[in-house]
């Protein structure tokens, strides 16, 4: 399947992830596998996505790699994120090499520790991540599902903050203190499952959506982008991919954002 070079990619805002330019809207591939994953990634590229998010755990890196090989987009235009599962402590380089082989890449743009291993910061792994970055095998390194305390522990031991922390993040998860802590440390907050904790039928979302002539789903994605939070969205359907990407065109008012912030169900700090 060939791809085209749409203009959709140009309207996606970006973030500075420790010196690496990262699109704020990415295409998530979990739980797709095989040909379905390959076709979906190629379709996503064709409608304008440039960041593709996978993980060793997803068992679809080879399928994503097939899409990377098939597209006529230059590798330098694409941003590939993958993640090392926590059970690979001590085997970081092996895991990275397997990811590179499966993806058919000579480097990965963003490599994350998928979960804190055993609830610990994972300093041993982080040192290996820093080394891989310094050797040019990955351009940026980060974490996923980490608390502020765990991130500070990594910095305390190595002097290196993660470029990105990918967490479940949507209006229901909104925590201004956590977001502020990430911002202060220069960590780009990235949202996975941005709709999971959100009641899309909530009157506030329905009202904002109605006034903008969009869906509550679009509003949630636009709300994340307003906060400079990267979002990873997934769908195997082209029309929904396009609709998700179009959230980049939706500008919410300060009153909209304040109202959506108020939907949080978070009562304790992360």
């Amino acid at each position: 399947m060939g791809t085209t070079h749409p203009t959709g990619a140009d309207r996606v805002p970006t973030a500075d992830a420790a010196g690496v330019t990262m699109p704020l809207v990415g295409f998530g591939t979990h739980p797709m596998r095989g040909d379905q994953a390959t076709e979906a990634v190629l379709t996503a590229f064709s409608v304008g996505y440039r960041l593709v998010d996978t993980a060793t755990r997803y068992r679809n890196e080879a399928a994503v790699g097939a899409a990377l090989a098939a597209t006529d987009l230059p590798r330098s235009d694409l941003f590939v994120t993958t993640k090392m599962p926590p059970d690979q402590v001590g085997r970081e380089r092996l895991t990275l090499e397997r990811s590179l082989t499966a993806l058919g890449c000579d480097h990965i743009d963003l490599w994350l520790i998928h979960w804190p291993p055993g609830g610990h910061p994972g300093v041993t792994s982080w040192r290996a991540f820093v080394k891989a970055r310094d050797e040019g095998l990955v351009r940026a390194i980060g974490v996923s599902n980490y608390s502020v305390e765990l991130i500070d522990a990594l910095h305390r031991e190595t002097g290196v903050y993660p470029a990105v922390n990918q967490v479940q993040w949507g209006p229901g998860d909104y925590d201004p203190h956590f977001a502020g802590a990430m911002r202060e440390r220069g960590v780009v907050l990235s949202a996975h499952s941005p709709l999971r904790s959100t009641d899309l039928d909530h009157p506030v979302l329905l009202d904002v959506a109605r006034r903008h002539g969009r869906s509550p789903r679009d509003v949630v994605l636009a709300w994340n982008l307003h906060h400079k939070v990267a979002v990873t969205v997934k769908s195997a359907h082209r029309d929904r991919m396009e609709r998700n990407l179009s959230a980049a065109d939706l500008t919410l008012t300060p009153a909209d954002v304040e109202a959506i912030d108020g939907l949080t169900t978070v009562t304790t700090g992360r």
Partner: protein, 344 residues
């Protein structure tokens, strides 16, 4: 009470009858739960039968009651007064003595049944892959969330959510006895502090996952320690990993499956180690391969492999996988690490 009927043979029963014929038996007496269910299928109430008799001419007879009476009743219902009947190995000898009085000659058939339960037709492979995949989902749901001090009861909740998202169900019920059940998944956990139900940093956590989809079981187990392993634990982990690898390497087409047992013993001897191979079809009972089995490995078999090595005073390292046998050998299906996982 015994019933007898000539069934429209299903493909599975046809295959089982073919094995009977090839082995020179006129009938097969199934007394284990797995065997009975395999023969009768997921029919509500099938577990009530005590003995099921299958003949090469297409008759399936089942009987309830105590084993001796049910066996005799099933034989009568099938009209068998003499000839060679194969029985599963776990049929008690006293039953054999009583039924001998009818003139029926009985021979063990554990290998015949195990081979049937382990063999997988190409069209059945997706079902085995799906069950193994569900085991992998359960593994991830446990492994990624572990932390020192975690209440072990949280784990079943995590597995439940993940398995539901993957299309399965988690429960301690029997899908054969529940109309419309899509499947079940069990997670058995050891290694937590029994007084507080919480995980510690030094005692290895072991968990076993038994997903069951439409009568096909997946199989996986893992052991993790929430710290860097110390000497004795790492030794046990290394021994278990090496012995498990040796077992898998021995499962090559043409070799006896028990060669896997021997390879494991050679590698792990003297370390309080144990292993077993199980068949994954026929419900959740997972029929084990008898230690004296002569079943030969052949492409198309799917097996559960479980191994363990004791850690003195601290439980054990246990590993398990669902493996498919191909012309090249044993291929892990769930893909969980066959080694001690150290989380630190």
């Amino acid at each position: 009470m015994a019933t007898a009927a000539t069934h429209q043979a299903t493909a599975a029963l046809d295959r089982l009858r073919g094995r009977l014929d090839k082995a020179g038996f006129g009938a097969l007496l199934l007394t284990s739960r797995t065997g009975r269910r395999y023969a009768l299928g997921p029919v509500p109430g099938s577990a009530d039968a005590t003995a099921v008799l299958l003949t090469t001419d297409g008759t399936v007879a089942s009987a309830t009651g105590d084993l001796a009476a049910a066996t005799a009743a099933a034989l009568r219902a099938a009209g068998i007064a003499g000839g060679m009947v194969a029985t599963e190995a776990d049929l008690p000898p006293d039953v054999l003595g009583q039924t001998d009085g009818t003139g029926v000659r009985l021979r063990p058939a554990a290998d015949l049944v195990f081979a049937e339960l382990a063999c997988c037709e190409p069209g059945e492979q997706p079902a085995f892959a799906a069950a193994a995949e569900l085991a992998a989902v359960g593994y991830t749901a446990v492994m990624d969330h572990l932390r020192v001090g975690m209440d072990v009861r949280e784990l079943s909740g995590n597995v439940d959510r993940s398995v539901r998202r993957a299309g399965g169900l988690l429960g301690w019920y029997d899908p054969y006895d529940a109309d419309g059940a899509a499947g079940t998944d069990l997670v058995t956990v050891r290694g937590h502090d029994p007084a507080t139900a919480r995980l510690t940093a030094t005692v290895p956590l072991r968990y076993v996952l038994h997903p069951l989809l439409d009568g096909t079981a997946g199989y996986a187990a893992a052991t993790a320690v929430l710290s860097k392993a110390d000497g004795p634990l790492r030794t046990a982990g290394d021994v278990c990993a090496a012995a498990t690898a040796a077992l898998l390497a021995a499962l090559r087409p043409g070799a006896r499956l028990t060669d896997g047992y021997a390879a494991f013993e050679r590698e792990a001897g003297g370390h309080g180690a144990a292993c077993r191979l199980v068949a994954l079809r026929g419900g959740g009972a997972s029929a084990p391969l008898p230690p004296d089995s002569a079943v030969v490995a052949e492409p198309g078999m799917v097996l559960g492999v479980r191994t363990g090595v004791q850690v003195p005073g601290r439980g054990a390292v246990e590993l398990a996988e669902t493996v498919a046998l191909t012309a090249e050998g044993a291929e892990p299906q769930a893909g969980t690490p066959l080694r001690l996982v150290e989380l630190y």
